[in-house]
């Protein structure tokens, strides 16, 4: 058994267990902590798959940035430590059936697809190739993403700013 197989198994088990916890843990704060572990497992699988740059990006942006945003939003919600964020157990039946059907459908699809695989790791590190791709065939997409990022940031500032003249905002001040 090679070391890489061991780490693949480890990250996959970690991903499945933490994904189950994200969906089913009654407390949304602990679900967020489970989400950290599932994002970490995806970062580890990126590493196993030879995507070293993406593994670093996943760690920096997801685990370092988005999780902080999620935890900050959770801290605002009232009664964090009371398990009142979930429905009655009966309301879980149909969504769980939908999720089980999704998994079964995907697995059947992958099983029937007769995927031809050829294990070949790309040259590591991938940073140089990523940079060349971003200014080569993907230059236009890169610019579009930059515009979307700018628009998203401006939109976030506009939405989050207190609205003057809005009667509800005026009522909050008093």
């Amino acid at each position: 058994m090679q070391l890489v197989d061991f780490f693949t198994l480890l990250f996959m088990l970690m991903g499945v267990v933490s994904a189950v916890l994200v969906a089913f843990h009654p407390n949304v704060l602990y679900a967020a902590v489970a989400l950290v572990f599932s994002l970490l497992s995806v970062a580890g699988l990126y590493g196993v798959l030879g995507a070293d740059f993406l593994a670093a990006v996943q760690l920096i942006i997801y685990v370092g940035g988005i999780i902080v945003v999620i935890l900050f939003a959770i801290m605002m919600s009232e009664n964090i430590y009371r398990a009142r964020f979930r429905d009655a157990a009966g309301k879980f039946v149909i969504p769980t059936a939908v999720a089980a059907l999704l998994i079964a459908g995907f697995l059947k699809l992958f099983h029937d697809a007769k995927l031809e695989t050829r294990a070949g790791l790309n040259a590591i590190p991938t940073t140089e190739q990523m940079g060349r791709a971003l200014v080569g065939p993907y230059a236009l997409v890169f610019q579009y993403v930059a515009i979307v990022l700018l628009a998203g940031l401006i939109g976030a500032v506009v939405v989050a700013r207190p609205h003057h003249g809005n009667p509800e905002s005026e009522a909050e001040k008093k």
Binding site: M1, A32, L45, R118, N122
Partner: protein, 110 residues
């Protein structure tokens, strides 16, 4: 027993299917706007993992561009934008309603 585990494309695809399905389940069952957002993040991660797995196990000819990696990078960037906008909306809804329960912020419902 575990030999060849890391070079089995089906395992990665199955794991990303599990991520996607549990993301859908989270979105369907959470009673919290942040919980919905976490489900969306899980779904995006499953899709991005698929791109990287297919890039590594690509059959046939391959050029030197890392197409799958670039698409996963774009997915991560768009998820970051989504996080910023979602937090802004959650802040506004919380300031106006003192709650982030999506079942109680229903002014826009027809």
């Amino acid at each position: 027993m575990l030999a060849g585990l890391s070079t089995n494309l089906g395992l990665y695809l199955g794991l990303s299917a599990v991520f996607f399905a549990f993301g859908v389940l989270t979105v369907l069952t959470r009673k919290n706007a942040v919980g919905l957002f976490m489900g969306v993040e899980l779904m995006l991660n499953g899709a991005a993992l698929n791109f990287v797995a297919f890039q590594t196990f690509r059959p046939g000819t391959h050029d030197s561009w890392l197409h799958g990696h670039v698409f996963s990078l774009f997915i991560i960037i768009l998820a970051a934008i989504e996080a910023a906008v979602a937090l802004a909306i959650v802040l506004r809804v919380f300031a106006a309603r003192r709650t982030i329960d999506p079942d109680r912020a229903t002014e826009l419902r027809g």
